[in-house]
């Protein structure tokens, strides 16, 4: 009897392992399964002018599970940029193809997705996901695999990690400058001195909260109250009453989309209809505005991106996105657009698709004008050099000022 199980087990193990071995051999130039994966992106290649073998760029994002929204924007943006580049002749005379893998929103999933891409020798660079945790999880993988990888997270911790890791680039403005600009605007131009801070304890938001506090400290101000919550909180009565008790002139919020909208609605519902709110970048995202509606009017935010950005390239992309997909373009999409463009720029500079050559070319990109901002990749961390201070009026984020700063070298 036992024999039967064991037989079953061993045959299964050998079968499955044989299958894995075959599918992960990685020597074949085009792997059967990744071809299917990327068919979504490849389908739009109809306008491609060249019949050469495509240059393949990996995109590790989150397609399923709790953070699937990121993947939806990312896949859409990937289609647009693929089509754009291929219709204008491609890179080095070859079309590009974006291979998407699902990181599932877990560390293990992020590493598996990354490794699957890195193991495929035909992939020349990998775009990472929009989450500092995922980015940190793959940091050492990038070192090992020696392939140019980009990180979308904006955490200062990630900046330091990137600066020590030759293969990982933070193609995003570390939010220090942006948050500082927003607080500068609030304190110096609007004259507020009493703030209450509410933040999510999730990675990005808690980092942002730290930056907000730092920016206030720089101006000699301490937030009167700091309250935190965990992602998924739906009722903010206790948080808001805590903030109300200290009678702030303005509230600072650092959190994700859903929570930003709920907090705004509840603040307004509790009678603080005119309370100024200064929020992290999620507050001005079209997703948040779509949910929170008029409750978000008057919110100022340090955003990396808004759909009606003043950036020319960005505005064109934003319009194209809106036309193709029927909803407003969010930051998650614009970032993919920029990341892929920069990688293509690096490939052009390198002149070939050698992984090391592409990585070396990255450092030569010091003044790239992307859809979001200007990028300086002379060092690995904090490559995005700016963003926008925006104010939401009539449920539209309006740009108040553009932020830009030179990289300290």
């Amino acid at each position: 009897m036992k024999k039967a199980f064991v037989l079953l087990l061993s045959s299964m193990a050998s079968l499955s392992l044989a299958a894995c071995g075959a599918s992960s051999s990685g020597n074949a130039p085009v792997m059967e399964d990744t071809k299917t994966t990327s068919s979504a992106a490849a389908a739009d290649n109809t306008g491609s002018t060249t019949s050469e073998e495509p240059i393949r760029i990996g995109l590790a994002t989150v397609l399923t599970g709790e953070r699937a929204m990121e993947g939806e924007y990312a896949s859409n943006a990937a289609k647009i940029i693929t089509e754009e580049i291929n219709s204008s002749g491609g890179i080095l005379g070859r079309p590009i193809e974006i291979v998407i893998e699902d990181g599932l929103g877990t560390d293990v999933g992020a590493v598996n997705a990354y490794r699957k891409l890195a193991d495929d020798s035909s992939i020349v660079a990998i775009v990472g996901s929009d989450n500092s945790n995922d980015n940190i999880a793959i940091a050492n993988e990038a070192k090992q695999a020696q392939i140019l990888s980009t990180a979308q997270g904006s955490s200062p911790t990630l900046r330091d990690i990137c600066n020590e890791n030759p293969w990982l680039f933070q193609l995003r403005a570390c939010e220090e400058t942006m948050i500082d600009a927003l607080i500068g605007y609030a304190v110096e131009e609007l004259g507020y001195t009493k703030f209450a801070l509410i933040h999510d304890t999730e990675t990005n938001s808690s980092d942002q909260a730290r930056l907000f506090t730092m920016a206030l400290e720089k101006r000699g101000i301490k937030p009167l109250a700091t309250v935190s919550f965990t992602t998924g909180t739906k009722d903010f009565t206790s948080h808001i009453t805590k903030m109300q008790q200290v009678q702030p002139e303005a509230i600072i919020g650092a959190c994700l989309f859903n929570e930003a909208a709920i907090i705004a609605e509840q603040i307004r519902a509790f009678g603080m209809t005119d309370m100024p709110i200064f929020g992290s970048n999620a507050w001005a995202d079209p997703v948040t505005i779509g949910l929170g509606g008029e409750a978000l009017n008057g919110v100022c935010s340090a955003a990396a991106w808004v759909p009606n950005t003043t950036n020319e390239k960005g505005a064109a992309f934003s319009q194209k996105y809106q036309e193709l997909y029927g909803h407003e373009c969010a930051k998650a999409a614009a970032q993919i657009y920029d990341h892929v463009s920069i990688i293509c720029e690096a490939i052009t500079i390198a002149g070939n698709t050698d992984r090391a050559a592409i990585r070396a070319a990255m450092n030569q990109i010091t003044d790239y004008h992307g859809a979001i901002t200007i990028y300086d990749c002379s060092t690995n961390g904090d490559c995005g050099r700016g963003g926008l201070v925006v104010r939401i009026e009539n449920e539209v984020a309006v740009v108040l000022q553009e932020i830009y700063s030179e990289k300290d070298k």
Binding site: A68, T230, T237, A261
Partner: protein, 291 residues
């Protein structure tokens, strides 16, 4: 004073929400003796049905709610037929696992149909209402309270006063005996699942403007409804609703006076304490264990 009043009002209003979801869970638990691990997904799916009628087709919110509820009734029966019925004689944990699989199907199916960008539906009552004691309650919460009260009354009347209700009760108590005296067990259980899904589905539609709809809405709300059932006692509908209120109050007052970061942790600490002190839940009577 005004602040405590506000906390109290908010606690009660979110508590009713949890109670409403918990009520749906309890109905199924009583009928089949297994916690439905896909109940949160009923909430999410009901919300999306409501969104389809209300936002995509542009119909009135009340009509959308009713249609969504009817739709959920069908979903409930299908769910029961696919995930529960084939396993009715298996161990409880097999049913739990199949419900978990179904829950994934619900979540991912909804994402494929409706996308992953969160959406919302219209509110039933728009403006916040000022209460006499000094608190403010959002109009939608007030609407939920009213609907919850109506649903509770409806469930009570249905179970206690109608023939169908008696059939459902009889099945819940002893499936074998019920089948012996001629109660069509499959019909009765299907009714229970349908009723549960309908209640939870309406909850989803009503919650969509407050919690916003995405495919993970069910897990977060479901976690608290689960706590509500355990705290209130999972034998009775009343216990579930009262448990929901306790969860709501613990959440708000715990947040205000202990820690906002650990709100969810506090709820579960209360859950464990209640289990230690009164395993059968606060509002259920002790069941004598049979030797």
């Amino acid at each position: 004073m005004g602040q405590i009043m506000q906390l109290f009002v908010s606690g009660l209003s979110t508590g009713v929400v949890y109670g409403l979801i918990a009520m749906g869970m309890v109905l199924i638990f009583r009928a089949v003796g297994v916690m439905n691990f896909a109940q949160g997904e009923f909430l999410m799916f009901g919300g999306y049905l409501c969104y389809t009628f209300n936002q995509l087709l542009g119909w009135n919110i009340m009509i959308s709610l009713i249609l969504a509820s009817v739709g959920m009734g069908v979903v409930g029966v299908l769910f029961m037929r696919a995930a529960y019925w084939p396993l009715r004689k298996a161990q409880a944990r097999a049913i739990i696992v199949s419900a978990m699989g179904a829950s994934m199907v619900f979540k991912e199916g909804s994402r494929l149909i409706w996308g992953s960008i969160p959406v919302k539906v219209d509110r039933v009552l728009e403006a916040p209402v000022k209460l006499a004691g000094g608190g403010i309650i959002q109009g939608q919460y007030l609407a939920i309270m009213i609907v919850a009260a109506i649903l509770m009354l409806f469930v009570y009347l249905l179970l206690e006063k109608t023939f169908v209700g008696h059939v459902m009760q009889a099945t819940a108590q002893d499936q074998y005996m019920a089948s012996m005296v001629g109660v069509p067990v499959i019909f009765s259980i299907a009714m229970t699942f349908a009723l549960s899904a309908m209640i939870t589905g309406i909850g989803g539609g009503l919650l969509a403007p407050l919690f916003f709809l995405n495919n993970t809405m069910g897990s977060t709300a479901g976690a608290k409804a689960f706590a509500a059932i355990v705290i209130g006692g999972f034998g009775s509908v009343q216990g579930a609703v009262l448990g929901g209120l306790i969860v709501g109050l613990v959440e708000v007052f715990g947040g205000a006076y202990i820690s906002t970061t650990y709100q969810l942790v506090l709820i579960y600490i209360v859950l464990i304490i209640v289990l230690m002190v009164r395993p059968q839940g606060i509002f259920s009577s002790k069941i004598q264990e049979k030797a």
